[in-house]
């Protein structure tokens, strides 16, 4: 592993960092939703896919450009998320949490099935917006601008949401609701609306990630489930207890994946799972150590 050129190594690390940004955004959304609803949202990948297709269709059908898609698609998917919570997940709040999990699982199969039926399994390209084309030379290596943009945009988004939840009044309601929803309700805060908003926020974040991913990976129905399963492994390692933990473990595992592509390419698609297995053997409670 010592005869690998530095350029290749750094190149793969940046690719890994980009993947890590997607893991971070998805696991952050999962953690926010889990905190208030106690639901592991299996439809998170499908919402991500919905965001990517939303961007694709906005461009193809309405000619809406990338920048507007980045705003419109998350809002649209957020509204869909709010509807899902209001109409379905709310009815399941009283029964075993496994049923909510199973519901979102069925929803994921349903949504993926619809898009596969209409658009087929093949990927559809989405052009990189003009402003973000090309490569920059940063001295020791050359980087595509779009990859830099993904890292900047997703870190800003994750940071913004972290600030929103940790530092604002609204966030303090949210954190209090995570700890003890009944007491918060008794203090006069509308918890049911807060729950709907939270699910919508998680869904919008997934869709934002989906639009970001559209030019980089191709838009295809299975893109969500493939990414989500890896994200689950990330979540098992990092735990759902803290938001910063979710973001950090997402980034770290993305970089680890990038490194494995250089050192031992055969395991690059499974290295996150291997890391998860190792963590389970060494520290069964996960790195952050808070059992749900």
């Amino acid at each position: 592993m010592f005869d690998i050129p530095l350029q290749v190594l750094l190149g793969q690390i940046t690719i890994g960092l980009v993947n890590g940004c997607f893991y971070a955004m998805l696991s952050l959304g999962l953690a926010i939703i889990f905190g208030l609803l106690n639901v592991i949202n299996f439809a998170h990948g499908a919402l991500y896919m919905l965001g990517a297709f939303g961007g694709y269709l906005l461009l193809q059908v309405f000619g809406v450009d990338y920048w507007w898609s980045l705003v419109i698609a998350p809002i649209g998917v957020g509204l869909i998320g709010a509807a899902i919570e209001r109409l379905f997940l709310r009815r399941l709040a009283g029964v075993d949490h496994l049923y909510s999990l199973l519901f979102t699982f069925g929803l994921a199969i349903f949504l993926e099935g619809i898009f596969r039926d209409i658009y087929g399994a093949a990927g559809r390209p989405y052009p990189v917006p003009a402003a973000l084309r090309g490569v920059v030379d940063i001295g020791f290596m050359r980087l595509p601008v779009y990859r830099i943009w993904i890292v900047v945009a997703s870190l800003a988004m994750c940071g913004g949401i972290w600030l929103l939840i940790e530092k604002t009044k609204l966030g303090s309601y949210l954190r209090a609701g995570t700890e003890n929803p009944r007491l918060v309700q008794a203090l006069g805060i509308n918890v049911p609306v807060m729950i709907t908003m939270t699910y919508a926020l998680g869904a919008a974040l997934a869709a934002f990630a989906g639009v970001l991913a559209a030019p980089l990976y191709q838009v295809q129905p299975a893109m969500g489930s493939n990414l989500l399963i890896v994200t689950f492994a990330v979540v098992v390692i990092g735990g759902l207890g803290s938001l910063s933990g979710a973001i950090l473990s997402g980034l770290t595992l993305g970089v680890l994946e990038g490194l494995s592509k250089v050192i031992y390419p055969e395991v690059s698609s499974t290295v996150v799972f291997i890391a998860m297995a190792a963590i389970l053997l060494i520290r069964p409670a996960g790195l952050m150590g808070r059992e749900a």
Partner: protein, 337 residues
């Protein structure tokens, strides 16, 4: 009569009668293989209370191992299937050993992630034929004597082995082992304080479940002559969850009912092809995942006990109203154990 014996005899009776009712042996064989798969899933999730989303790994690997052994090594079916069971048990031991370290939703996520690893293995391993899978797997001669190429003969073999395996699973539930499993599901700390090693019980149940799932996968590969990637894909794990949910999770015959229903539905949709509704031509064969997903959501929203669970409840309600508490209790012990 024990429930296990009753179920064993019921499967054989219905199974022998079904071909005379005009149903194709190949369709029935497929139903049986999936019924066994569903029972294996139910044996663990229904009785231990931990949701596994990784059972496709055992089913798929069982199919590949049996298929490879029959096609490339040309060994007899009972050895090939035995090998599939052995591989399934070993994989179950490894996966279960890791997954039972976590509880609840984490358990579900760990099983899903590990099963995805097995899927990647199936995609890349040299003996699985990648995207094509293993095709035209011969059925072989049972014990080197009985040629299984005839669909009806194959059906007879599958019927007896599936009925036997389901009997075994049910008999285990009636044994002290099964009762301890239920105790762990209902109150783990209490079972632990009574001196039971909960973790080994869970692991043992997982290994048994995994080996039976691999057996079902092997039977499926042998019958249809095909082992391919969809067998190991996560949607297959979803399918088996739906089968149990639809039939009645935790009930003895629910998974069999649910599996038959889903296999029949898939077959119906695939065969029907194009239909015409009010001038709109719809190709039903590509709508299977949509229908599966929709039934899944409906089941969870308003039909959580499943077909068999609802029947049990209604019967008990009826007997209670008819002032027959003893009979209600008998229904309980007969069906729900």
């Amino acid at each position: 009569m024990r429930t296990s014996t009753a179920i064993f005899l019921a499967i054989l009776t219905v199974g022998v009668a079904a071909p005379f009712g005009g149903l194709y042996p190949l369709f029935l064989t497929k139903c049986l293989a999936f019924a066994l798969f569903a029972c294996s899933f139910n044996f663990f999730t229904g009785n231990v209370g931990l949701l596994s989303i990784g059972h496709a790994a055992f089913f798929g690997l069982g199919a590949y191992v049996a298929g490879h052994a029959l096609k490339v090594w040309g060994i007899t079916p009972e050895l090939a299937l035995g090998l599939a069971v052995l591989v399934g048990a070993s994989l179950g031991f490894v996966m279960g050993g890791m997954a039972i370290r976590r509880q609840g939703i984490y358990f579900a996520m760990v099983t899903l992630a590990l099963a995805q690893m097995v899927y990647f293995f199936c995609l890349q391993a040299p003996f699985t034929g990648a995207e094509d899978g293993l095709q035209r797997i011969p059925r072989g001669r049972l014990f080197g004597l009985l040629l299984l190429d005839n669909d009806l003969v194959m059906y007879g073999f599958v019927l007896v082995s599936v009925a036997g395996a389901i009997w075994g699973l049910q008999r285990l539930m009636e044994a002290p082992f099964g009762q301890v499993m239920l105790a762990i599901r209902d109150n783990e700390p209490r079972a632990m304080s009574l001196g039971y090693d909960c973790r080994s019980y869970k692991l043992m149940a997982f290994v048994i479940s995994a080996s039976v799932a691999a057996f079902a996968g092997g039977l499926k590969a042998q019958t249809l002559g095909l082992a391919s990637l969809p067998d190991a894909h996560w949607t297959q794990s979803g399918n088996v969850i739906l089968m149990c949910l639809l039939g009645g999770l935790g009930t003895a015959v629910g998974p069999i009912v649910g599996a038959t229903f889903i296999v029949a539905l898939e077959g119906y949709l695939a065969d029907f092809g194009l239909i015409n509704i009010m001038g709109l031509t719809i190709d039903l064969s590509t709508k299977i995942p949509i229908v599966i997903g929709a039934i899944f959501m409906l089941c969870v929203l308003m039909f959580r006990k499943g077909i068999v669970g609802e029947i049990i409840d209604r019967t008990k309600q009826y007997l209670r109203n008819a002032q027959a508490p003893v009979a209600a209790k008998q229904v309980d012990t007969l069906l729900q154990k």
